[in-house]
Amino acid sequence: MQGTTAVLPNELTLVARARVEPAAFAAVYDHYFSRVYNYVRYRVNDAATADDLTAQVFERVLARIGHYCPERAPFAAWLFAIARNAVSDHLRAHKRRRWLALDVLGDRRSAGPKPEEILVRKEDHAELLVAVACLSDRQRNLIGLKFGAGLTNRRIAELTGLSESNVGVILYRTMRRLRAEMSAEECDHE
């Protein structure tokens, strides 16, 4: 995620033109895609769901970007509020049991990357994601906002309704819990 939290030059101008100018939207999309995806990935357990939700987030962003008001919040805060709502909607809906008739349960194997690529990536990220999956949803949300979205504690506080100092304390506790989970995994492997 290196570099993704850098400021987008002329962000406000690009955002203002994004609804009507493809190049401006593309610049905003390219700048924020990784941050949105990483935020979502910290909150859900599989890459396909993260893809779906990231797509939903940008579709909503494109649909509503004309209503974005810079005076009310920075663009990143506005965008990640949409992302947070999309994930929350998904997590709520995931509580529904579904009968899916016809071929809703489709074969997705052909759409994915090659097995050897999956293996390498999974080895890179598996340990981290397994440990993250042990956290509560609130902890995952904070981890996602901090390290996936790259937001400051102040912005996170505004989004979550927590105080800024409380965000720092919960984040630190969460990181300690993550460390404990990862240490336990190492022990399990030994």
């Binding site: 009507v20 990231t54 709520r92 809906a93 049991r97 009968w99 899916l100 008739a101 071929d103 390290f147």
Partner: protein, 357 residues
């Protein structure tokens, strides 16, 4: 506190914030340069910082399959209103200006439409129906939805209420057993008139029931058995189904009940056999079920994704949907019903549905 005092307070707080930050950064620089004795840090703290560094530098988005396709799709959706709107206005205006080419073209199209309507009376309604059919979603009750998509060869994600369903829609009939990416179908738990496949993988159990009107899949709660039970009589099945199992008072000539399959999760499949192939009546209890853990389950729902035609109809004063290749669907009294068969017409399906008792 006066306005000036308040401004001063805010300024002071801001200055203190930056001063604190500056001191921390300078200490860090001096410490790293060996010019200052560093504060002893515990091993745990160093590990926590190390994990934070890993989190901050890990980019999961390299795994994403949608980055470029989504970019292209959204790129195409961006409006370019200046040129587009002006062209539209110009187009409309020019239509009403006499002696323009557009008037002639419009007249020719109108003429063609009239000729087509006379030569082929059903053409215009067929055309209108096909356009309408490509964008339909039928909500047949609080927990029963039919969604049509126009991508027969691709994966499709369709928003249904607050969530989305993803899968490969088909026009009709049964194809080979498909698997979700989270499922390995390695455990067939029963084999009956309605072929049943159960699979266990990851966190979910999956029960799939293959029938001549399509495949029904159900994610079971963790640690449940994906076992469907078969009964030869309706009375036996009624003993295990947690709702009032209904049967048709009317069936096409010669049709008799062959089997009743009761699937986990409160669903029953009644198979009637006859000369023109099976007629199937599916009854699924929807909404919250007795014993549902409210922390993990909101409701049971029936959701269908199809690229065949769907037609809204009314059955006993409730909305129903005729799904090509699948059957007639509706929801009543907390039960989602489907009546279907390979050779079953809408008229016959309606008659069977109206006769349920």
């Amino acid at each position: 506190m006066s306005e000036r005092d308040l401004a001063s307070e805010v300024h002071w707080a801001s200055e203190r914030h930056w001063a604190d930050r500056f001191c921390r950064d300078v200490d860090d620089l001096l410490c790293k340069a060996g010019r200052m004795e560093c504060e002893p840090l515990s091993a745990e703290y160093r590990q926590v910082v190390g994990i934070a560094r890993t989190l901050a530098t890990t980019d999961f988005s390299v795994e994403s399959q949608v980055r470029q396709p989504l970019r292209r799709r959204l790129f195409d959706q961006v409006d370019v209103p200046r040129g587009w709107q002006q062209k539209a206005v110009r187009g409309l205006r020019s239509l009403f200006e006499p002696s323009r080419l557009t008037v002639k073209a419009a007249a020719m199209i109108l003429m063609g439409f009239i000729v087509m309507s006379v030569a082929w009376p059903g053409a215009s309604s067929t055309l209108a129906q096909s356009i309408r059919a490509s964008v339909q979603q039928l909500v047949l009750g609080q927990h029963t939805t039919v969604t049509q998509t126009a991508c027969p060869d691709e994966q499709a994600t369709v928003a249904i209420g607050a969530h989305s369903v993803r899968g490969t829609p088909v026009a009709s009939a049964v194809s080979n057993l498909a698997q979700s990416d989270a499922v390995v179908a390695d455990a067939v738990v029963a084999s009956t008139g309605g072929e049943v496949a159960g699979a266990v993988a990851g966190e979910d159990n999956l029960c799939i029931i293959n029938t001549v009107i399509g495949r029904f899949g159900f994610h079971l709660p963790s640690e449940s058995d994906a076992v469907a039970r078969s009964f030869s009589t309706l009375d036996e099945a009624r003993g295990v189904v947690p709702f009032r199992l209904r049967q048709p008072g009317y069936l096409p000539d010669g049709y008799v009940l062959r089997e009743t399959l009761v699937a986990p999760g409160g669903a029953a499949f009644l198979f009637y056999e006859g000369q023109k192939g099976d007629v199937i009546l599916v009854q699924i209890s929807v909404g919250l079920q007795p014993g549902d853990d409210l922390q993990s389950v909101q409701a049971t729902a029936v959701e269908i994704l199809t690229c065949g035609t769907i037609e809204p109809v009314t059955l006993n004063d409730v909305p129903a949907g005729w799904v090509e290749g699948h059957g007639l669907m509706w929801e009543a009294d907390g039960i989602s019903y489907t009546v279907g068969g390979v050779n079953l017409s809408l008229g016959e399906a309606m008659r069977i549905a109206e006769s349920l008792e």
